[in-house]
Amino acid sequence: MSDTSIALNNFLLLGSSGAFANFEPEQLLSNHDKLEQFLLSNGDSLSTLELYSLYELQFYLALLTKHDIEAKAMLDRLVDQFGANAKSQRLKLLQSIYLEAIGKRDEALALVNKSPNELKLARRLVTFGRKADSNDNEDYISTLTYYLDLQPTDLVTWSELGHEYSKIGHYDKAIYCFKEILLQDALIYPIFYKVGLNYYYNFLQEEKNLKTERKDKLLELLNILINSRNNYLRAVEIFDDYTKAWVGIYIITQLGSFNDKLKKLGDGGIKEVKEYLEYNEKLSKLSDKRIQELAQPEEYAKILNDIKK
């Protein structure tokens, strides 16, 4: 494959996967500039489909990098090609995004709010329920759940709902949402990590509210922690070089005061606890080793520092 076709494939993949939504600003800008150059030098040799897919990608990149005028130019090209009054949901989606970006929120809303059968637009409509104040997301959550009732296999929305629940501390519900994604694709390791993380948050929340040191309460907490650990472990089982999950495992093994409480229980002869503590030691060594292997030395020091805090 020549350089041009590799670059073309990269851009097409970027556009179809939507991965740019998670890019850092520098990454966005560099991709935007590269694509601009690419379109200038190779635009004539592309097929219609490729060309307009790239225009669409450039529209998003331009908006995200605050090149409003360029975004408008890309949008106009797409509209010229496919017709302003066309029924295309994809085009309406772009138009509404542009309108919202330049502050015409009501017009954007009117554009997508027409037919219940236009499901791609329905998802876009749901995002209008989002508010800048992240602690007040009840309406947003109820719109998301309504949408998911209509589209139960929309993974992006499940993930969004999971994050929203996580934000307001409903970790059990967040876990439910993330598990829904895993049920449909059981190899997405970042989601296993997120499930583990939410279990861990759940543990912290419960531990904070813990008033007694009764045995059953502690065992309940232990169960949450085991779930968290297992999900992290599943993530590194799928992708061995996943530093985040190794750090997660390491943190769990370093819970000083809680582990001391467990030790008392373990000495009392509860087999489950003993086993957990044994595994803990092994995993602590292993995760420490793996983090050292994967992270740069200064990064490693920083991670350890952060954990201690």
Binding site: N117, L150, P152, K179, F192, R229, E237, L283
Partner: protein, 256 residues
């Protein structure tokens, strides 16, 4: 016995051979454009139908990937799914169990499909019949060219349709045969003119063969209630094995 050469009027080339090809190319292009215009735009599926399908898919995914759940989660979800699969909540439309099954041909939803099929077929055979009639009417029995290479007698039927001369050299081509040769051999010309190899291939395919019958729904498709029930039964008998069983040992072994 060798037949003496026929003397062909060079004017045949300009007044028969090329016009037939030219007309066929033009009609082919015109037809492809009209077919394109007649094609209905993609229709949006009703959201309820999509919801039904997606829910079914969710249930199927649960059946396949339930290993990612813990036992407790598994039981919760299983109960939820069985309950919903046995209710009519996710049906696209609730059917009256007493209603008689409808005739698929009188069902309005299949009319569209039939109409499109009819349109496609008409666009296919009307122009072809016309051109063939035209060739047959004006140039019946014409011998219009001589191929510059020898051929075996097996090609006689293909190249000399419409002229009753059993002893004529196979290298001579009749007008109606020229029409058939064009019909099957114009693909490269179309792809050159249309600048798009796929569209041309489609055009030629349309000319050469009947399109397969589209699945017009109706009695062939299984009913939602049946699918839902089957899935509910499958989930009912599911055994659960979590991937988290023994995961610590697995990871430790991986790094041993």
């Amino acid at each position: 016995m060798s037949t003496p050469d026929l003397l062909l009027d060079p004017q045949l080339k300009y007044w028969v051979l090329l016009p037939i090809s030219f007309v066929m190319v033009l009609v082919g292009l015109l037809r492809s454009n009209i077919t394109y215009l007649l094609q209905p735009g993609p229709k949006l599926e009703e959201y309820k139908a999509i919801r039904e399908k997606q829910f079914l898919r969710r249930a199927a995914c649960f059946r396949q990937n339930n290993g990612v759940l813990t036992t407790e989660e598994f039981e919760n979800r299983r109960q939820y799914l069985i309950e919903k699969l046995n209710s009519t909540e996710f049906y696209a439309k609730v059917e009256d169990p007493n209603a008689e099954s409808t005739n698929p041909l009188s069902d309005p939803s299949t009319n569209d499909a039939l109409m499109n099929m009819a349109k496609g077929n008409m666009m296919n055979y009307i122009p072809q019949t016309l051109i063939m009639a035209w060739v047959n009417y004006f140039f019946a029995g014409f011998v219009i060219m001589k191929l510059p290479f020898p051929l075996t007698d097996g090609f006689k039927q293909m190249l000399q349709t419409g002229i009753e001369t059993p002893n004529l050299n196979v290298r001579y081509v009749s007008s109606i045969s020229w029409y058939f040769v064009n019909l099957f051999g114009l693909r490269p010309i179309y792809s050159l003119l249309m600048g798009d190899a796929n569209a041309a291939a489609e055009l030629v395919n349309q000319q050469q063969q009947q399109q397969p019958l589209p699945n017009i729904g109706g009695p062939g498709g299984p009913k939602a209630s049946k699918l839902f029930q089957a899935e509910a039964e499958n989930i009912q008998i599911l055994t659960h094995k979590s991937i988290f069983d023994g995961i610590v040992d697995r990871v430790l072994d991986q790094h041993a």
